[in-house]
Subunit: 340 residues, 4 copies
């Protein structure tokens, strides 16, 4: 019996996340990577992806084709899956156009993640035009929303810091272990790839150095708040490494909550989830997750104080591999397909 | 008029901190570096310091001489200053011997930092034999204890994490700004030099990676508690860089405390302290302090939430340059002498 | 039709190369990873491989079993493939024992690479006891010896520097382009993983720095000489990165040799070899090969001067993935199986 | 007796080299840093240097003032020393203007380094307008041209690769040890700061990786040739570190030349030069020179093959500290003043 192959395209394929998505899709046994697209004005238009990413030479040699809005109907003729690794504003505009072609859309931007009045005006600098789509969009936190992901054509894949933070915090919230009227504090450090592939002085080799940024202003803070259901204090940091996020989280537990209850909450949430690894008495280290689709979780309890640690590859579990998880869920493939 | 030169020796001079101390002292206009010592069993005995630290070739070419307890009297004949960059247990044993020779002793180990019953048994694995000296020892947090430092012969130079943490937190405590019954949380990341110069798998180049360690068990946590006067939650991390510590600190402020009050607290504490730099609307970055004797502080307030950041070079402000500050204080030299 | 699965074991599985081999084998569709072994005295005995290498948690959780010589017959009962990632002396002793069990042996040590009187005494510090096996061993430089590899049970997988150097130089020698009585000079820089997984001061995070070592004395120099068929000047360097080797090679061409002839020599050698990538007017960069099984080659000609550049991942093409290539060749699988 | 202080200004002070120069000058006991200048169109105009370089906060807080050609006469009223850390074309235009004001000019660009017809057209893209100044300019290779440096007002401070290469090769050429009709080959690796402080994709944190560049085309190759007096093959590489250059040099010695003769050549050249350190049986490592004004040299001889290694900090001995050496020479200060 011949396997039915789905056809997928990547829009915004020239960035770090786009390259990772392509690398996963050429290994996927049930999906054909049918095309890579960039905006018509991109300087990378016409180049092979492997001309930008030498490690993909001989692996993904497809060209980066220009995609104007007028091309969408033709391009989508036999496409099942569209992955958007585009800027937030671009995704905002493209999503309805692709949905109109009956493709399933997996959007890695922030454009459809948060249903809160004024959120996009405040944190993304534009007014959202598609409130109905925002409502319809399913948040693709793969370990938590898998039933909903199966039934939608618009998946908003979560942000990198958000994935790391929510994966660590949601089990505690679900189990009701966090003290009332307290806020978890999240201190997270991301590799320089989090700023994307671009020329900027701040991300030049000699300038990158461990430091906080976006203090009290980062857009992932309200994204965490909404999908966690409670407010947090979130402080992102830039680290002097290429990839990975480590989130260190302080939580005050309700009086009387035991370490055993915390362990149980994590076990309940993830014992059957192959891409979240619960450390057994040790703690996550970036080297163990970089280049992998895993989220590693570790924690410790001392009285009412809990510290939890969450580590991911920001470009993989924090973006591309979580998108592939969502695709696998949506189309009924094993969740680790092409990822392990 | 001929300047009077004091004579100093460094014991435990073969480690990273010892090398930094030597490098400062050869530049000091009022101090002569009179000798470098290691334990009689050291494999580095007899080598020049510059044979271990190639960057010091032509700068500090003194030999590492063995120092047995029986040699102390002779060695100290005309010595004014003894700097101990030795292991905690070794410092514990050496301090009374050097004090008996009427030298001023600056101890960079943890052996005389904390006056708390059972502290050394629990956190250092030995029972302290010199409670009277512990009581007499002045904690060398240079910006805070300068009057006391001037009048003692035993200065316990603070730990690296402790220096970063206390420098950020003490102004808030002194000003009474921290909410009652809350604990500041400190997440700090240190470069690999914090583990010292030694062969170990964990500190080998391919194994070092951003990760937490010593969760709820690190000995700098009670050191911070004691010298701050209130309990904290402290989580140290190892970072994949050589030098520097960045501490990110979350504090809950008393209701009604304003950003202006916080700013004023920091100004009051440090406006006249040349080696603590208050950022003006920006945040510390490791690159700005590594290789310098500064502690950089930045902070932001959002309602009752405050985040503060403190950055130091762990081997300098976190050890050797703070020792030099203490020496400068003790002997009446300008506090930045040989440091800037 | 059910696929016939071969069974393989890895001896010396606790090192960096062993971990990479295991990671490849669990992905191989025609080979079952049947066991991981360490020496009976290993401190890692009994641990899971993923306890040493956290990135393999959930991927390779097999235990590291002790293997004494007396166990070999039992262990080999139904084993087709033995991969030795053991120390040179250990491989020297184990190879005849495994061959006696009719397994195919792929040895990643240096113990069977060079057939030259006195070589092992001089460069490895032991006298070789199995000259007949040395003669029988096929050198597993996969792109060059594929016919011979198919017909032997003892493959000596080349050294990392040697693979990088020979891949760049052999096409020139085969085509007769190098000036008589001149020696190619090779300056190669390797990541710190080349020294293996071990505690040592020299490989500690704070000590590693770009520098030459083994000048005129490195054991890969005579290995290159023998398999190239001419002497070279070889200078290895340690670089401050984890993985990868870049070899920069200077060659004097015979008078009249053109750039076109050089291009043709490389095309002839590698046009049909999927794991050697010929750059087209650009040059190799470490980032493009690290984590991949490729060798990237680039070169330029200026009159009689040629510079060639060769880049590999030292643990993959320089060790484990080349071993897998040899296994694929030996058993008739596509050469890139489990590698791409 | 009051010390006479010379007054110096730095033009092009916003770059990495400018910042290093400023840092040296504020420590110089005989020179006052009288002003920092940038071009009138610079975006950094008006900022404090420490706003660009946080490590200089509290150390060099002078503002970056705009300098138009019309301002030069006024600015130079009481200035003794002008240091140009400007782009090549800018230095080309500024040098005659500053010389007309009777200042001593130390130019760190390539604009006055090479007296060869057509050199600037070919390698710098402009036609040189001041052949008489080119002839008058003294090449500031401090250890070699110190008598000439004392007597001129225009010093062309050498390039970074050139300094590393010439320091290693000139003693061999002077002693006549290099085989006739052979070319030394130089493979040198520079840290990313060599590309300067700027936004570019190629120098972004995630893109920098060990790789060759400028193969057979780098402008330091003819600079080396001219000041060495013989042709070389020069291959520069970019390394994944911030600072430092390591040059690895292969030379064919004349028949019969002994290691002793090579040693003697180096001793003759540098025994009395405090800023060139001759390794004694070891080899240079970047970590030993980064942050220092030293050039470290090591070498080994095997028959007619010599390899030599030269390590410098590209921003210091390869630029700013060598400029200070030249200033010290020119004005009769000890050559290491403000450097050690």
């Amino acid at each position: 019996m011949e396997l039915l192959m789905l056809k997928a395209i990547i829009v915004g394929a020239s960035g770090y996340t786009g390259a990772e998505l392509a690398n996963f899709l050429v290994r996927h046994p049930h999906i054909e990577l049918a095309g890579l697209y960039v905006s018509p004005g991109s300087l990378d238009k016409g180049k092979k992806l492997s001309a930008l990413y030498g490690h993909l030479l001989g692996v993904v040699d497809l060209p980066l084709q220009p995609l104007g809005n007028a091309d969408i109907k033709t391009v989508c003729a036999d496409i099942d899956i569209v992955i958007l690794a585009t800027a937030h504003e671009v995704s905002h505009d493209l999503v309805p156009l692709f949905l109109a072609q009956n493709t399933a859309v997996f959007d890695l931007s922030g454009a459809f993640r948060v249903q809160e009045a004024g959120f996009y005006d405040k944190f993304y600098g534009f007014t959202h035009q598609y409130p109905a789509l925002l409502e319809k969009a399913v948040y693709g936190l793969a370990e938590w929303n898998f039933e909903a992901v199966k039934k939608t054509d618009l998946i908003a894949v979560p942000g990198c810091y958000t994935t790391a933070s929510l994966t660590a915090l949601k089990p505690l919230v679900e189990a009701g272990l966090i003290k009332d009227n307290t806020k978890p504090t999240i201190n997270a450090t991301s590799g320089a790839s989090g700023t994307g592939r671009k020329a900027s002085l701040a991300s030049s080799f000699c300038e990158v150095s461990l430091q906080p940024y976006g203090v009290f202003t980062h857009r992932h803070k309200p994204e965490i708040d909404q999908h966690l259901g409670m407010p947090v204090v979130f402080t992102p940091h830039l680290g002097s490494f290429k990839r990975g996020i480590l989130a260190s989280i302080n939580v005050q537990l309700k009086a009387g909550v035991t370490a055993q209850q915390v362990n149980q909450a994590y076990q309940n949430a993830y014992a059957d989830k192959p891409l979240v690894r619960l450390m057994d008495g040790t703690y996550p280290a970036l080297k163990n997750v970089v280049g992998t689709p895993f989220c590693d979780l570790g924690w410790a309890v001392d009285g009412e104080d809990l510290v939890a640690f969450s580590a991911i590859d920001n470009l993989l579990k924090g973006a591309s591999s979580q998108a592939i998880q969502c695709i696998n869920l949506r189309f009924g493939f094993a969740i680790t397909t092409s990822l392990l």
